[in-house]
Assembly symmetry: D2
Homo-oligomer: 310 residues x 4
Amino acid sequence: MLDSTAAGVFAIAPTPFHPDGAIDWDSLDRLADFYGQTGCNGFTVLGVLGEAPKLDAAEALAIAKRAIARAGRPVIVGVSAPGFAAMRALARPVMEMGAAGVMIAPAAGLRGDDQIATWFRDAVDAIGGDIPWVLQDFPLVTGVSMTPQLIRRIVNENPSLKIIKHEDWPGLEKITALRGFERDGAMRRTAILVGNNGLFLDFELARGADGANTGYAFPDMLVQAVKLSREGARDAAQDLFDAHLPLLRYEHQPGIGLAVRKYILKRRGILASDALRKPGAALSPTAQAEVEYLLARLGRRCPQFALAAS
Amino acid sequence: MLDSTAAGVFAIAPTPFHPDGAIDWDSLDRLADFYGQTGCNGFTVLGVLGEAPKLDAAEALAIAKRAIARAGRPVIVGVSAPGFAAMRALARPVMEMGAAGVMIAPAAGLRGDDQIATWFRDAVDAIGGDIPWVLQDFPLVTGVSMTPQLIRRIVNENPSLKIIKHEDWPGLEKITALRGFERDGAMRRTAILVGNNGLFLDFELARGADGANTGYAFPDMLVQAVKLSREGARDAAQDLFDAHLPLLRYEHQPGIGLAVRKYILKRRGILASDALRKPGAALSPTAQAEVEYLLARLGRRCPQFALAAS
Amino acid sequence: MLDSTAAGVFAIAPTPFHPDGAIDWDSLDRLADFYGQTGCNGFTVLGVLGEAPKLDAAEALAIAKRAIARAGRPVIVGVSAPGFAAMRALARPVMEMGAAGVMIAPAAGLRGDDQIATWFRDAVDAIGGDIPWVLQDFPLVTGVSMTPQLIRRIVNENPSLKIIKHEDWPGLEKITALRGFERDGAMRRTAILVGNNGLFLDFELARGADGANTGYAFPDMLVQAVKLSREGARDAAQDLFDAHLPLLRYEHQPGIGLAVRKYILKRRGILASDALRKPGAALSPTAQAEVEYLLARLGRRCPQFALAAS
Amino acid sequence: MLDSTAAGVFAIAPTPFHPDGAIDWDSLDRLADFYGQTGCNGFTVLGVLGEAPKLDAAEALAIAKRAIARAGRPVIVGVSAPGFAAMRALARPVMEMGAAGVMIAPAAGLRGDDQIATWFRDAVDAIGGDIPWVLQDFPLVTGVSMTPQLIRRIVNENPSLKIIKHEDWPGLEKITALRGFERDGAMRRTAILVGNNGLFLDFELARGADGANTGYAFPDMLVQAVKLSREGARDAAQDLFDAHLPLLRYEHQPGIGLAVRKYILKRRGILASDALRKPGAALSPTAQAEVEYLLARLGRRCPQFALAAS
């Protein structure tokens, strides 16, 4: 079960599909194995950007079940939904299947600090206070902005909240503010794991984040960067990070980023196909060539990340 | 099965709940009967504002099943969902249960005419081209605006689209534009039924709408108004409409409107409780007194709509 | 100078234009006179919906100057702008010209209670703490939602805030909450004047509003309704209000409402033209006929509001 | 005067302020000189992110005048405004002062392709068809999305449109689509200059962009990268770009990016102060140290960009 000591890398898993849109179970197994082999501490399925909204309820349950059975490490399940009944209908069964916790993002359209705080209390009531959960703070997608003061309130009102998935933007000062609240005794300790494909991982770790909870197609890099950073090897961590940044940035493009990520995971032999379910664009040949160019440069700069030619 | 000759009143049914949030099946039966007794041509369950997002997948199916079994007239089922898989997982079974068609609103976040048109084609592919459907044009809630030209394109590209549920705002000129396209042969005939609680029903009928597809708690008024309008009794229709307008407007308040509607349906003896599922506010005693004041005035002005004192 | 005892009707003045887009100064004079003749306590120029964003800086100053010189009663000047420099560059001169105060709406894009409160303190710093001002609470247009708790904070932090222009939606419980804060001593007294074309004026007055600050083309009705309500003649006030509601609702349509309002003011002999500056649609002949139909019905029901045939 | 052969780098100039918020004219002069010394082809003042909305009308004119007088190369003036009168009141005088053209972003709130296209035609009518202009395509800030098809229409309908400032997101395929239209003869040739701090400059150039129109604090890097790219030295261009990417990304943070940019320009000796006008946060000491760390790394990797210690 998740608790507030969570740290390291929890990858965000894409949902593998066959070109016809069917779920690709074998690739899902390989993905679970891959996260173990690359040193991830756990991973998250059914995330907001993991095509979860494109699944029906039975598919979502089946994916969580398969991933948990295969993982051999903590699995977090995204249960964000427009309503509490659907949230509960996913959260309770996946915990029984052995999930380590769930992830919840605020519903679009919430207005004002009080309404947001009430919504989270109601969400916890709905799923049950015994389920540890991750608060996803991702205003670019949810449209819901939460100040550090509001997050402090949500943390203090909900003991089962264990991890903040931080992807506000800009966000460095927010991490500093939250860690300041903890130091002052105004907020209990929670883990902070960062998202946004790790685009600011270098400084987020220095500001006090405990690790990453994001989907960059080289989780092995994230694992090493977090390790180096914890060991105090700042320059080495930054060198590693900088070598990946051109590709990481390319994968972080909104709208097309998931297609890039799946393409790379296919190139790494994990996914059988880079298909997205509709609606969702495929990479053009030009975009594929751009990714290959960046992969080749990365491989030259860091041979450990070199991929065999496609 | 729905077709483009649909006309009259298709009520939008709220979902009845007990105070503890459980579905109130007896009230749902009474509601189905009520729509028949008041002369509705059919009704819609699981609409965007009918708390459909608060239901889990199994509940949604069960409500559709019960309503269809009881209705004795066409039932339309709202299947709007963030993804096509969930849409299909609801649409196919309810059609097998005997639904007359489904209703689809565009997903939030669609950008640009081409993307919107593509999304609807994909949605129809997902549910199957054999299911007649209602296009819900409700930008205030969906955030997706569609010009008359874009609606024309969607109509022409999707033969299974039979009805436009019109609740753009302002919308009178839009109806005129769509009927103009039909007259010019640029768009095939579709039914237009209006929403927005009927707030502009008087002029929308004059502009060419075929009726209403909305949830005002006096569907009997909507039925009479449409009938009078069709008979050419414009002033009589307007007199009737004007008598209801103070209450109708009160029920049309965003955020609180559904609680008003349920309160009135409870006062009419249809719903056992006016409870909403969380999140959703109850009417304050002051608001209840305001509704009672308006009900009393309506009853004095139009004795046929007088309710027994509460 | 405005203070927190403001009450009655402060009309929102449209900006009169000639068909070629030039400002129509004679009509502006007639408008100022009209507000006096109809018993308004004052009026507001350069409001958010008064085409203020379509004016350049010199035009805005000239309109304020002319209106103040002609008014013979308090004039409020809308100074909302994306930045504080432009706000100050309008606010200081109009106060020197004799304005009674200014109106400020929050800038689009503010996120979180703290940021909104800080923005208002900075706005007051920018214009000077000696200028009485009206807080415009209009989330439908600004996109900025403020809870009663946040408004209480803004009131308490800014002594020069004298009036809340209330057009949140729904808003009845908000007025009740604010008046409750005052009663409990948690918030100092401020005037509350309502907007939204007066669509809920009947109940807003009962909830504690002091009057209206809106632009309905029959301010004489608003004046009478406020007067009757204060005298405790609730049913008479409601009868009057209900008679106007069909037209008032028609004029309240977003996007097209201002064209309706200008059309009626032209029909009343106040404006020489109902032209809007670009971008802004004109009323179609059908829409004009609809307004005429509603005017004729109003005139029959309340002869005091009958207009001569056009 | 701008024309569609524009290419290279047009920097986006920040507006220099003293710590008290007054305009810093000397720094503005140094900035104009700096853009010349670094090889920029021209620069843009009063851009959407250049604090233009914080200036009053007189200040905006004065800044344009000073910059044009000093520049010795083409100056583009941002004239985006909520209304056409303010747009014209800035555009006409700055062209008389010698500006090379103006930049226009679509007004927030436009809905649907037809409305957007009409708005641009009206904007051109307002400023006059003789003024060359830059279309700013920046949906993240304006909220207005334009498909390649819609941009083609706007280009074809407005001969005075000479440059597309491309900062849609993701945007690579959009450049490819627009260049495809040109090749097919479906759209006349226009220059495409990219924004977004150059975050995708490497591939945007390869896709057909003619250069950059953005504000990264090392315009000298942008100039070199464009030059290398044109010479076909792809790897050298990418090496240079990659060396800057960690800092460039840091400067690209929304909300705080402008403070970073001003800080670096101060460190380079161009701006006397890194102050922003209210509302606008200053860099925390931690953030300053982060920027210094990135500057030091950049200086080690590319000595030509090394700054003296602060």
